[in-house]
């Protein structure tokens, strides 16, 4: 779901549908009742390749001590909402 133009799509949930066309409509009915979005993507669960919780250490921990990768060494200008 893209909440509004300029923002990227964000995962909002999962649902059942017999095919992609109906999945799009079901998503519209379930997730845009309160004007939550202006664009919807649907992806079949079978098309998602996910990282495994078992691999968490190897995948994510090595980044923990590499402070030089973080963009924290300059000030963020005021009024930049979505940096």
């Amino acid at each position: 779901m893209r909440a509004r133009r300029g923002l990227s799509h964000t995962h909002v949930g999962s649902l059942h549908a017999p095919d992609a066309e109906l999945a799009l409509r079901n998503a519209r009915d379930l997730y845009t009742r309160r004007q939550e979005g202006v664009s919807i993507w649907v992806v079949p669960a079978s098309a998602i390749t996910a990282s495994s919780p078992d691999e968490k250490d190897a995948f994510f921990d090595p980044a923990a001590d590499k402070v030089y990768r973080h963009p924290t060494f300059y000030p963020v200008p005021d009024g930049v909402a979505h940096l």
């Binding site: 549908a17 017999p18 079901n26």
Partner: protein, 241 residues
Amino acid sequence: MTSLFDYTLGLGDDALVAAQRLGEWTSHAPEMEEDIALANIALDQLGAARLLLTYAGELEGAGRDEDALAYLRDDREFRNCLLVELPNGDFAVTMAKLFFLAAYQLPLYTALAGCGDERLAAIGAKARKESAYHLDHASLWVKRLGDGTEESHRRMQAAVEQVWPYTHELFAAAPAAPVDPATLRADFDTCVDAVLAEATLTRPADGWTPGGGRDGVHTEHLSYLLAEMQVLHRAHPGARW
């Protein structure tokens, strides 16, 4: 000639009764996603009904508001078409009813949006987008059920045949009305023929043409629907959430 009050009341009653019938699916639909979809559509219909009945009450000038019109009339005073009061039947019957209703309401509201009556034009402009979605939703299901399994095809075809006779009443000529229903028939036929063809369904032959809803002569099903819809308001007049 029917007055603008009768005309507006008829459109409002169509939407109100359709909303009440669709609401019966809430928590009973085949899947959760469809449950929400049907409830959304019912609420769209209810929204249109409220605007139309409020306007009808003002046209009448007898001090009746939307609640008085919705809750304090008996079946003979309702002006809805018979199509919307028919029982939901199985899911195929519900989809056939919704499909035919939306295929009628979309050109109706579109034409109303350009009519000379300012209030009806505003209501039409709002409701036509909703109707377009109702038509989309029902069309997708008619196609999937019609062009689905042998059993779904059989039931969808039976549903179309069961409901088809009730569509003729929608287009009874009313030349003095803001939008003459007879002028909507061509759009309806084009839409219905295209969807039925894609759904591998056969459009039934025109024969029996039940009517009378616009004159307050209804099927026996309407009284039961009204009893359920009105009981709370009649038992506790003016009750609010």
